[in-house]
C-alpha cells in the first residue's frame, strides 16, 4: 500500500495543487469539527428538548415560565442576559396558573439577602449584573393572599398579608429553580413546581386571572401532581 506522502512525491505540479487544495479543505473541516466539539452536547440536548417559544410570546422576561432559565442564560451557551438565579411561582400543585407579586427572598452563604417580585406570568430572575449570590443559599417565597372575593388580604393597618413558603433544603449550585422544581411534577427526583397554595387552600386563597396585558403565556398542562 502507498501512503499519501508517496503519492505526493511523484505528483505533477497541477496534481500537487489539487492535493494542497484538498488538504486545505480537510484542514478547514477538521478545524470546524474541533471548534464544534467545544459545545456541550448534554446541555444542547436539554435545550432542544424544551422546544420552541410559545406562540405569540417573544423571548424576554415573560417567556418560558417554569422552564430551567439558566440552561440557556448561563456561561454556556451564553444567552444574554446571564442569570444568577431564576424561576417561576405558580398558584398550586395541580395547575400552571402563575402568581404575580410573590416576593422571592434569597439568603446566601455570605449573609447577603436578595429580594425579587414575580411578574404577571410568575417569572422572577436576578441577572448576574444585579446580583451575585454565593452558593449555597436558602430561599423563601412570600405569596400574596386574597379573600374569596378576589380582594387582597390585609392586616388591620392595611398592609398586605403574605404567606411564607420556605425551602426545606438549600440550593447548592443550580441557578435554575426548575432544575429541581420541574414541570413534570412530583417525582422521585423532583419536588414539583414552586407553588403558593395547597389544593385545599386554592378555594380560600384564589389567585386572580392572568392580566390581559401580560405578554406571557403559562406552560401547557402536562399532568398534575397530587397534594
Amino acid at each position: 500500500m502507498s501512503s499519501p506522502l508517496t503519492h505526493l512525491a511523484g505528483a505533477s505540479a497541477s496534481a500537487l495543487g489539487g492535493y494542497v487544495a484538498r488538504l486545505g479543505a480537510g484542514a478547514v473541516l477538521a478545524l470546524g469539527l474541533v471548534l464544534g466539539g467545544c459545545g456541550n452536547p448534554v446541555i444542547d440536548a436539554e435545550i432542544e428538548a424544551l422546544g420552541g417559544e410559545a406562540e405569540g410570546v417573544a423571548p424576554g422576561e415573560f417567556h418560558r415560565p417554569g422552564q430551567p432559565c439558566a440552561l440557556c442564560h448561563n456561561d454556556y451557551p451564553g444567552e444574554d442576559p446571564l442569570m444568577a438565579v431564576a424561576g417561576t411561582v405558580f398558584a398550586d400543585p395541580v395547575s400552571f396558573h402563575p402568581v404575580e407579586g410573590a416576593e422571592v427572598i434569597l439568603y446566601d452563604a455570605v449573609g447577603q439577602i436578595f429580594r425579587k417580585e414575580t411578574n404577571c406570568i410568575g417569572n422572577f430572575f436576578w441577572t448576574r449584573d444585579e446580583a451575585d449570590p454565593q452558593f449555597p443559599f436558602a430561599v423563601e417565597v412570600r405569596c400574596p393572599t386574597y379573600n374569596t372575593d378576589g380582594t387582597p388580604k390585609t392586616d388591620p393597618t392595611g398592609k398586605p398579608i403574605f404567606k411564607v413558603k420556605a425551602m426545606g433544603s438549600w440550593v447548592s449550585r443550580d441557578r435554575s429553580c426548575a432544575g429541581c422544581h420541574s414541570l413534570t411534577g412530583r417525582q422521585l427526583d423532583s419536588t414539583g413546581w414552586i407553588y403558593c397554595n395547597t389544593q385545599q387552600e386554592a378555594a380560600t386563597n384564589p389567585y386572580p386571572p392572568i392580566a390581559e396585558t401580560c405578554a406571557g403565556k403559562p406552560p401547557r398542562q402536562k399532568g398534575a401532581a397530587s397534594e
Partner: protein
Amino acid sequence: MKRRALAVFALVLGALPLGQAACVPETTITDAICPPYEDFKKVSPVLEQRCGTLDCHGQVSRPLRLYSNLGLRLPGIDEPENGYFPGGTVPTVEQEIEANYRAVCGLEPEIITDVVNGAAEPTDLTLVRKPRLTEKHKGGRIWDEGKAGDRCLVAWLKADYAPGTFNDGDCKAALGVDSEQ
C-alpha cells in the same frame, strides 16, 4: 485477494489485545472494609443535608449518589402520591441510608479499607478532600478542616471506636442540632 489479506490482518490485530488480556494474572478479590454501618446512620444525615440536594449528589449520575428526604428518593420504596418525593412527608428510609453507605464505601474501597486499618490517612480519601476543597470540587467548599461536619466524617472514617458507640456530637452540631454550625 488484497481485501482478504487486509481482513485477516485486521482480525489478527483485533485479536492481539484479547490474547494479551488473557495473560494478565487473575487479581485477588478481597472484601473492602468500611467503618461500621450502625454508626454511619449518624453521619448520613450530615451528608444528606450538606451534599445530597437534587442539584448536587442527589442525582443518579453521581458516583457519590445520595438518597434522602431532602433530595433524590430511592426507587421501589413508595410512591410520590404518598409523600415519597424530595421534601415530602416520608423521612429518609433505612434502605436509602444503606444505599448511601454503599455509595460512600464504594467510592474508593481500597483506600477506605486502609483508612480503617490505619494504613492510610482520611485525607487520602477524595471523600474528605473534596468538601474541604483541597481537591477540585464543583460544589465548592462545603466545610473547612476541623469544622463539625468534617470532624463527624473523619472520626467515623477512622473507626477507632467500638461499633455502635460512635460519638455523634459533631454530626449533630453539623446539622445545627447543637450550637456549633
